[in-house]
Subunit: 150 residues, 2 copies
DNA sequence: GTTGAAAGCCGTTTACC
DNA sequence: GGTAAACGGCTTTCAAC
């Protein structure tokens, strides 16, 4: 189980993965070598999944978020497999959830502009049978973080 | 503007930021030093926003995603500021969007369980006046990526 | 068994072509 | 864009507690 120091290390690294072991050690009042062993253990035990670079969307001209609400009438494993494969294969789909309630699936899609979304949409409905699809555009992203509340 | 090599570098780094400069260089058919200069430039120009560690949710017992659909009746800057400050301050809110359509705002909230969501919910409605709030729980996360389609 | 210091090693970074 | 050398941090080992 994790103690307070492990949690502090995780908080630091999910905020900034470029921190040197030494810098992390200082912030948690440890010397480098026990701190290094803890980080190693957190990786081995799977608490740290990966380290990635987060890009800026504005200069890449990927400013548009679209939420796609999907209903299906085929509630079986085969359909779910096909649908899952389709969303995994489409790089515009950043997130996909199976939902409770009257919407069956929810996607967050990132595209350059409305035209690009239209192309995405046509591709999606051509790949999988969907009973009902409704799209909502985000006007503004107020918050986006990858930092879990540990 | 970005050429094909810069885009390839961005794709590699947003997938795995632990790649050494040498490893990236090999994959894009460059030697380390021009590759290093390109990465440096991509950071200076703001294409690379930051490098972070992504944690696993299961061992941290943060398995529940809740989408919160919010309507307000106060469409003014002051209210929006208060709302934005509230969601920025609440670590359970991973994403927040101002939407088009009949829902005004959409949140993705990550919590340990339903009880934790109830506590979050009470805290949220006590902080800001909301006309209508409806919550939808995700049964399953089919996809989650931070990799933009560059 | 755990911590801290010290040393080798490897990747990053810079100067120069 | 490439080469080569200096630099700094990561990783490991070992002694001390």
């Amino acid at each position: 189980m994790l103690d307070a120091i492990d949690r502090a290390i995780l908080r630091l690294l999910q905020h900034d993965a470029t921190l040197s072991v030494q810098a992390v050690a200082e912030q948690v009042n440890l010397t480098t070598s026990p701190c290094w062993r803890r980080i190693q253990a957190l990786e081995d035990q799977g608490y740290i999944r990966r380290r990635v670079a987060l890009l800026s969307r504005q200069p890449l001209e990927l400013g548009v978020d679209v939420f796609v609400f999907i209903k299906t009438n085929q509630h079986n494993d085969r359909w779910l497999n096909d649908f899952t494969e389709a969303v995994l294969a489409m790089p515009e789909v950043m997130e996909a959830y199976r939902m409770s309630g009257d919407v069956d699936y929810l996607l967050r899609v990132v595209v350059r502009d409305i035209d690009a979304y239209d192309r995405f949409y046509k591709q999606l409905v051509s790949r999988v049978k969907l009973a009902d699809v409704s799209s909502s555009f985000a006007m503004e992203q107020l918050k986006y973080t990858t930092e879990l509340p540990v």
